[in-house]
Structures are given as structure tokens and as C-alpha cells.
Symmetry: C2
Subunit: 355 residues, 2 copies
């Protein structure tokens, strides 16, 4: 089991300025770099308090790369439907160079109707644009004189610059929310996987991971494939304090998510590319912190509590996971996040070192 | 007269790796920050040894912002035709926050046919996309609930996040190559100006600057407007050494530019949006280092020589300039660039302090 940081900003300008948030992120990234965490990752969202402070993860990760020397920098995820593949491959290649080969590229399909609308992209094209643009990026990194004649973009022959440090290309992760088919496709393509346990049942996620590993093995790709999994983590010496803080910020997160996914209530949203997404509304409505904690959807408590939770997670999903931990959700003050990071490194991670 | 750094990478993978180049840039940016330079700027180009190592200036500048505390970070320039305005405004707003309000945004139209072809953008739409997208970015930064119904993109109502630190928006510069009309339009709009003296005659540039300042004043905008102007600078205690190094790397630059602009030889390239650009080919062919030096298109020699050149430049174009200096052209080794930067700060800039 490896551990990294996840930055998912959840507030609006009335609650917190972005410059203060980014300052905190860079301080936490430096600390994670020194404490031996594996990676730092962040998200791409727009307009709303649900992630909207980070419309371009590469921009924040370039700053992280400049302040660190060891941690991997991870897009979790970039949305290829919203950026031309020449631009996306180019800036990710710059980040791979700025970080001296520490980049992992997670690609996602996106799911918020307002984001697709702003870019003028029909959600019905989500799958085809994702597949086409991920492949275009892979070829721009690994080949020269690339000729691309896709359904949505066409270019070439071009040779992308700069060339990536990692050859033939940085590791490619596919972000999968709920679909075992998507996981199988990622495995068959030889990609790695990013999952978010909060949006599925434990059993469904097990099915997804099994489908991923099986498809990957059947396609003959070397290695088991890397899996990144995201949790928010609340640590305190006093269990009740950890739970109270966790309850507060998790409810804040759900409230912001509820506003961001509200437009899913319109019948037919997303079309056939998003089966089951309308259920997001019901999941959000039914959210309960105590239940989420009992189901290990959120990590909260003493160091022993969280170590026990991670042990169960390793039993459920296998120990070969890279766990992305959010230590600074909402407007949690920096000193509290720094303390949690240190406590995790000193008192939680060692308990899982055997995994 | 203020001074900054300009990074314009001019090499291909056989000559220099991007990670070594970016390392140098960050070292030079840190040094410039300590030595009191005003800004650091970089360019957007694709595919060729002529600038192609920097397909996304925001990515490099985010790293610069993370390593510095005082210098302004400047896009010189970003190309709004190649990035959706929601994405462009968003990542520039992130950079304004990461740098705590140190961002100057230069926007350019681009002029290389291969770049337009890769993005599937007709060069005939260059002016209209530029105007539309610069205005869209300005509104996304300064207004809320923006509704944009343009010729090329449409979106809204949306409120861009994060909000910029600089209100109502970061300073906007327009990059103008040869057109006095473009300069007048920038002035009338209240924007600032970026110029490249290497591609015009001194007299034409004077006409451009006069047109800019007159239009800006007539439109009633406060202040004279800021003007950034770019030169490459070669310094050595021994004049002949400076000139030999300068001749070598300037000829290398021209050779790379010749390859990048070769497709301008095709009749009709660029259409009516690019009057006079076909002459680029002839300018490149006729390039002569001694002539460029005599015309103050390149700065080279002892500290006294370069101070004298800058004095003449101040006489020609007015002293109220921000001069962007490239100290690490081509594959010039870092120690030589660092020495030149220190020498400039210690022995050249003070001689112009009265301006």
C-alpha cells in the first residue's frame, strides 16, 4: 500500500480565496515530499464550489513539481474532451519534464452537464472523445510524425515537443466511476486505474477491480496495473473530535456536490454514455456520515482507527493500492492538515508497511 | 526602463533536453527574482525547434511562480485561438492566484501555418478568434454570470473560478508584430502592448508605438499603457567574445526560424489577416548579424556597449519600456547565462537608472 495526497477544493470565494488554498497545497506538497508520500494529485472542475478552483490541474501540479523533488505528480483527472489533444499532450509533456519524469496522467470523462455545455461538447460524445483523445495523446508522446484522423479532431504529420522524459510515455490512468466495462476496457488497453470508492458499493468496486485485472492479464500486459483510490482522512488523538470535524467537512462536501449535480434531475441528462448517473442525486440525498464511516468510504478517528480501516480496505480491494488522501478538505486550517499529514506518516503508514 | 527575462527555447531534442532547459529557466528565474528584475516571460509555440519546447507558457510560469516571490510572470504570448476561453481564463486565473497577483497576460494571434493546421483553425479566422476570445477572457475574469454568444464559441451564464487576485482582471497585453492598426486597436481597448523589434524597422516600430499611445489617449484610458519589448542579450568583458557567441546563437535562431516559417512560401498563406507576413521569408534570408547589431536588434558586447545600445533604444522608443531580455538563447550553458544576468544587474541596469 502506497499513500499520496489528493487536493479537491470544495468552497466558493465567500468562504476561501484560491491564493490561500494554493499556498496551503504547496506547503502540504512539500511536507508530503519530505515525509515519503508517493504522490500529489488534483482534479479538473469548473464554475462551482465542487472542485471549481482547479480548472486546470497541470497548472497547480507544475507549481507542485517546482517545489518538490521526489513525489509523483498526478492528474486526477484531466478531461481530454475539454482540451485539444495537441495542447493537452504538450502541456503534460512539459510537466513530465519539469518534474523530471514524475508525472502520472489520469484521464477522466467528466460528468457535470454545465461543464460540457460551457465547452459546447455534447455529453453523448463523451465516450468517443475520451477514447479518441487519450489515444491521440499516447501517440503524440510515443511516436513521431503522428497523423491523426479522428472523428473529432484531425492533424499531422506532427512531432510533439517537448518529448516526454518517461518513455514511451508517462503512465496513463483511466478514471472510472461505476462501470466495470470501463475498467475492463482500461485493463485491456494496458492502462492503469483511478477509482473513487465513495460513489460505488464495496461489492461493485470489487467487481470493477476484478474486471480490470482480468482484462489486463488476458490482453497480456506486463504487471498487474497500478490502482489509485481516493479517501478523505480526518485524524485526531481524540476520536470524537476527529469524527466531529469529519462530519462537518463531509457534509459540506456533500452539500457542494448536491448543487453541482442538481442538473442531473433533468430527464435524459447524459444520455446512454452515463448509465446510472442520475442515481447520483439519490446517493447525495441519502448521504449519512456514520454510514459512510462504517462502510470505510471516509477515514476518520484516531491513528489506530484509520489504520484499521485501511487494513479492511486492503482486504477488500487487495493491498497493491496507491491511496490518495485528502487531508485539507473544505476550509480546514493548514496547521490541522499538516498535523494530520505528520501523524499519518508517523503512526498510520507504519502499521500498514507489511502490506 | 525596467528589465525582465524572456525564455524562448530554440533547439530540438538532438541538441538539448527539455528537462535540462526548464531546470536552467527556473534557476535563472530565481536569480532574476533576487536581483530585482521586473518579470519573467515565455512563449507559446509547437512542434518545431523554434519555440516548440513551450506549447503551454502557463505550465512553465506556474513553476516559475512557485520558485519566486517578487518577479511578475508574463505570457509572451498565449494564443487564444488555440484554447477555449473557459480553459484559458481558468488556468490564467489559477496562475494569478499561485503568483499572488503577479500575472501579466500577453495574448498573441500566432502566425505559423502548421500550428493553425494542427488545431484545425483557419488562419482567416485569426483576427476574429483573437478579438472574441480576449474579450471572453476579460469578461470571465471581471464579471459574474457571464453569457457569451460569439461567432466561434458560446457559453453561459457561468461564473469563472477561481476569481483573479488582480481586480477587475490581470493586466492584458496585446502582442503586435508589424501592424500599426493592431497597436491602435490595443490602445483604444485600453490594453498594454508587447512588441518584437527584430521583425520591424526602427521607423515602423516608432509608428506603431505612436499609434498605440495616441489611440489609448484618445479613448481616455488612464495612464500611458505599458510596453514590453524583447531583445536577446550577449555580455562579456571581452567584446569580441560577446560578438562571436552572439553571432553563433543568433544565426542558430534564424536557422530555426527559417525552417518554422518555410511554409509561408506557399502563395496565399495566411490570407488577408496577415498582410506582409510573406516578407518574413525574405527578412530571414537577408539576416546579417553585424547589421542586426548596428540596428540594435540584438544586444551584444561589453556592459558599456549594451548600456549604450539600450540608451539609444530609449531615445528611439521612449524610456518607459519594460525590456524582456533573453540571456539563455539556444544551448548556451547555464553558467554563462547566470554570469550575464549578474553582470547586467550590476553593470548595465544602473547605467540606465536615470531613465
Amino acid at each position: 500500500m502506497k499513500f499520496g495526497l489528493n487536493f479537491f477544493p470544495v468552497f466558493d470565494p465567500a468562504e476561501r480565496s484560491a491564493h490561500a488554498y494554493f499556498d496551503d497545497c504547496l506547503r502540504l506538497a512539500e511536507l508530503a515530499d519530505r515525509l515519503g508520500f508517493e504522490h500529489v494529485q488534483t482534479v479538473e472542475h469548473y464554475f462551482s464550489a465542487y472542485g471549481g478552483y482547479c480548472p486546470d490541474p497541470v497548472t497547480l501540479l507544475a507549481a507542485v513539481a517546482a517545489r518538490t523533488t521526489r513525489v509523483r505528480v498526478v492528474t486526477g483527472a484531466v478531461i481530454p474532451a475539454f482540451t485539444h489533444p495537441v495542447k493537452l499532450a504538450g502541456k503534460l509533456a512539459m510537466l513530465d519534464n519539469l518534474s523530471h519524469g514524475r508525472l502520472d496522467v489520469g484521464f477522466g470523462r467528466a460528468f457535470l452537464p454545465e461543464e460540457f455545455a460551457a465547452f459546447g461538447i455534447p455529453m453523448e460524445q463523451s465516450r468517443s472523445r475520451f477514447a479518441e483523445n487519450v489515444e491521440a495523446c499516447r501517440r503524440l508522446w510515443s511516436e513521431e510524425e503522428v497523423v491523426h484522423r479522428g472523428e473529432h479532431t484531425a492533424f499531422g504529420p506532427v512531432t510533439m515537443l517537448p518529448r516526454t522524459v518517461q518513455r514511451p510515455h508517462p503512465p496513463i490512468f483511466v478514471a472510472a466511476a461505476t462501470s466495470a466495462d470501463s475498467c475492463a476496457a482500461a485493463g485491456a488497453a494496458g492502462h492503469h486505474l483511478q477509482v473513487v470508492p465513495a460513489v460505488t458499493t464495496t461489492e461493485d468496486l470489487q467487481v470493477m477491480l476484478t474486471a480490470y485485472h482480468r482484462a489486463r492479464a488476458e490482453a497480456g500486459h506486463a504487471g498487474a496495473g497500478r490502482v489509485q483510490i481516493k479517501y478523505t482522512c480526518y485524524l485526531d488523538d481524540d476520536r470524537e473530535t476527529a469524527l466531529a470535524v469529519g462530519r462537518h467537512w463531509e457534509n459540506n462536501y456533500i452539500e457542494k456536490m448536491r448543487a453541482a449535480v442538481a442538473s442531473w434531475a433533468a430527464p435524459g441528462t447524459g444520455g446512454r454514455d452515463y448509465p446510472g448517473y442520475a442515481a447520483l442525486l439519490e446517493k447525495v440525498r441519502a448521504y449519512d456520515f456514520a454510514r459512510a464511516l462504517a462502510d470505510n468510504k471516509v477515514l476518520a478517528g484516531t491513528c489506530d482507527d484509520v489504520a484499521r480501516q485501511l487494513g479492511e480496505i486492503a482486504e477488500w480491494f487487495g493491498p497493491d493500492l496507491s491511496v490518495s488522501l485528502q487531508f485539507n478538505p473544505g476550509a480546514l486550517p493548514l496547521p490541522a492538515a499538516e498535523r494530520a499529514l505528520r501523524d499519518f506518516a508517523e503512526h498510520v503508514a507504519p502499521k500498514l508497511a507489511h502490506l
